[in-house]
Subunit: 190 residues, 2 copies
Amino acid sequence: MKILEDRIRRDGRVRDGGVLKVDGFLNHQMDIALFSDMGKEFYRIFGDRRVNKILTIEASGIGIACLTAQQFGCPVVFAKKTQTKNISGEVYTTSVRSFTHDRVYDIIVSKEFLTPADRVLIIDDFLANGCALMGLVRLVRDAGAQLVGAGIAVEKAFQPGGELIRGMGVEVASLARIKAMDPVRGVEFC
Amino acid sequence: MKILEDRIRRDGRVRDGGVLKVDGFLNHQMDIALFSDMGKEFYRIFGDRRVNKILTIEASGIGIACLTAQQFGCPVVFAKKTQTKNISGEVYTTSVRSFTHDRVYDIIVSKEFLTPADRVLIIDDFLANGCALMGLVRLVRDAGAQLVGAGIAVEKAFQPGGELIRGMGVEVASLARIKAMDPVRGVEFC
């Protein structure tokens, strides 16, 4: 998606250690007009697939998910991160490893809001190692819901997540796929 | 706001201990069409006040903030919760007590995204004890930004937060103000 790639080139900053800072428009300050355009693009890709629910994960996926859901005319469910195992049986839960924060946390979704009747599009801001996305895929499968696909804003295609998850048979559509990046040379897209 | 009150009456559940469950449409599964109507109502109230930034706090404020920002044509900044003090000087930070989770956490906003040039509308889903909202007010004031007001979805008017924050001179507009609630009798609005 050209406008997102252009925006990353203009306002993104590459830091040492494979960090891409896009907090001016994507995951701290959020450009809602851009998110709306991204939602339209996800609808162009997945709009004929009878999606009735968008699933995302707190916190930075929520904004993009909401503007995408507006296109699909459906609700958003966001998985919550928790460090305490919920054993009440009222939720689907799975463990996710965070490389960024070097820890493992559980994510949960209430069983009430993810059911076999649902046709789910997962939306998230980043795909790198794929741990969060894989956790969301597990929640959808545990619920017996139909997974339509995953819409990602920025995929670091030089990290293994995208290949892993596509290898599981999940249709992943990333609006900007980064082939390589470097603090000096900047970002190169696929 | 009648449609929000009606929705709370229909789909909200009052639990013991002053807990109102609205996770079917507000803070776990999110009704985007309802959020858009709420955004229009906030615009009706604050639309002539030259708001150029919406400030909220992760995670459940983000959806309402995004749909409200769409009405105002401005970006959203969400304060991040963290348990590790950031001492780099690049952020505004303040401590917030959570009664729900019985702990204290820090919230941070990058100095880059909150400046004296900003006219800020705070948006959040709940106002009860007012700790989170007061933290956001402090961040706005620390930044030297102009605080236009605060738009809240659901205010528990029987708890002290609303009175405290209005007493600080902040204009608070709550779309549903709960006077009393009880698992048997349900919700009574102001």
